[in-house]
Amino acid sequence: MSTDIQTQGASVPMTMVQALRSAHDVMMGRDEDVVVYGEDVGYFGGVFRVTEGLQAKYGKTRCFDAPISESGIVATALGMAAYGLKPVVEIQFADYFYPAMDQIVSEVARLRHRSAGDFAAPMVIRMPCGGGIYGGQTHSQSPEAVFTHICGIRTVMPSNPYDAKGLLIASIESEDPVVFLEPKRLYNGPFDGRHDQPVVPWSKHDMGKVPEGYYKVPLESAAVFRPGKAVTVLTYGTMVWVAERAAIDTGIDAEIIDLRSIWPLDLETIVNSVRKTGRCVVVHEATRTSGFGAELTALVQEHCFYHLEAPIERVCGWDTPYPHAQEWAYFPGPARVGAALKRAVEV
């Protein structure tokens, strides 16, 4: 596990939206080549308001609106990156990245490799992801596994405001292209999966205390979110909080690893934890089959086989599109995660 570096400024309460906005602000202030671009991100500040105020502060050519064309946004950002700018583009919902898929897979991810380093396209593609907001099948997806299968892209997903800002700054400074997934269910408060309970605002959480200035949470650094001895939970994004709720509800001493960087990832932290606990539950919101949990399960099996005392469990979204009215049956809540924890420790 890494330590965060070069923290500057006093910590103040921020939501994840405010923390992400602050990361943009800090980096646009430090580097005039950082350009923020996407649908509605300019004058209006984005439908989730992440980029609010940036156009007024940095001018129209540093933060501006794009036509509704995800492919065009990513392609032009590639051109900007190849020129030498650092574009940070927003895809309004992760569900809409598919039109940009060819540009991401065939162009952004491969430019450095195919040109043997002659050209590169370091850029950040931000996209709000995940369900739990009654978004139906087209506003709820978690497509992280799609990106992890592509060589040359980093995939990142924070679970709290502190990490969100530090990871976004690290992503903007990265010399590789980064897909930055933002679980929108966490924008305003930690969400433990109990949808019938009020959300506790980030202002009441330690992780909602965010330094105002520059700091980084390094990529490829997982966090031990909750130490424990009985079982390791490998997860990220919204499910970090669901897993915590499940551990509290069941009273199981679970160690929760928040991957933060999904790929490339911090294998060492994962392996150390599973070797210690001997048990592993993988939790993600995305569809189960060929989801990133399959990769995690395989990695744990390869590296921890002789330490395992129980089969590796997977708790994921079902293999169906995300349903609108049945959202809470789809969402892997604390009950399902808790049941898996019990199975893992009772073997």
Partner: protein, 411 residues
Amino acid sequence: MTSPAALRLHIPEPTGRPGGTTDFSYLLLSEAGEVPRPAPDVPAAATASMAKSLVRVLDHEGRAQGPWAPAIHPERLRRGLRAMVKTRLFDARMQIAQRQKKLSFYMQCLGEEAIAIAHAQALQEGDMCFPTYRQQGLLLSRDDISLVEIICQLMSNARDPLKGRQLPVLYSYKRAGFFSTSGNLATQVPQAVGWAMASAIKGDTKIASAWIGDGSTAEADFHTALTFAHVYRAPVIINVVNNQWAISSFQAIAGGEGTTFAQRGVGVGLASLRVDGNDFLAVYAASQWAAERARTNHGATLIEWVTYRGGAHSTSDDPSKYRPADDWQRFPLGDPIARLKQHLIGIGEWSEAQHEEMGKELEAQIIAAQKEAESYGTLLDGRVPSAATMFEDVFKDMPEHLRRQRQQLGV
């Protein structure tokens, strides 16, 4: 009540097939000098008629005619002619090398040489071209890119600057303003728009130029690029090379029937020109016009270059299976090399003897370069870059999982 007529699907067909003769009247040609030349700051809408006509300078006798005839020094024209001859000879040598299995693949630009070479002369140092695989003329018109290096890329040998990763002909020369070529079609047009947007954001003076064939204008990326270029008034030139054939699909299959590719720009609000791509002077003049328009913040220009793909699509293609074998000889816009040569001789700046001498010299130069490149190996003899290099450049720094995979490969 009468019963409705059955609907019929229209499948476009070319006007000539093997064994027949192509009727080229579909090309909608203008006479040399006929099309007016507006100032480069003309409102885009005022160019609408130029998307249907054809800008031409050289007439049938090789004389420069009309308002598009550029003021250009004969030395520049001789350099252009030399680069076109060099490109044609280079293509011919590499075509043979492929047949000898020294290359896995090659794509010549026979008949289209003027489009890249005259365009390159209208650009400036630092501008960025986003070419397709048929603009090798952009590189071969330069003296600072060595033929040996280019051939090493084609042979994927130990000195391939792209470390054996790219198909032959998919070059990358940042130092020459030649963007890494993609095999996926149309993807690079919106990228060029983005590069041009960045130049404008930074208050720079450089412009971008993007290339696409008639076939791939059907891709969404092309239309997206036109929209973005218009919206941001990006300093970019979008070149559609209409060489009539996308492998075996006639240009009508991409939507060229009864309209032109230049007209795609009209509805989007871009200045749009349709130009004789086999007329070196017209290509130079139109390129210079579009470059000036871009450089003075008047926005992007879409140019359709009308030409003919004289050879096969690639070394894996046999055009005699889908079009008349004598098409290129009968193409009404002729051969760009023959036309420029005729013009230069006509104005007393060139001769048949000089032309022959230049051909011999270039041939010798290319043969020497090929010999040297072959001495560094070919894909076939296995003298290729080390397999360890494939794990490099995936990310800026090699992550742990790739280090482990490289170890598994044992390199």
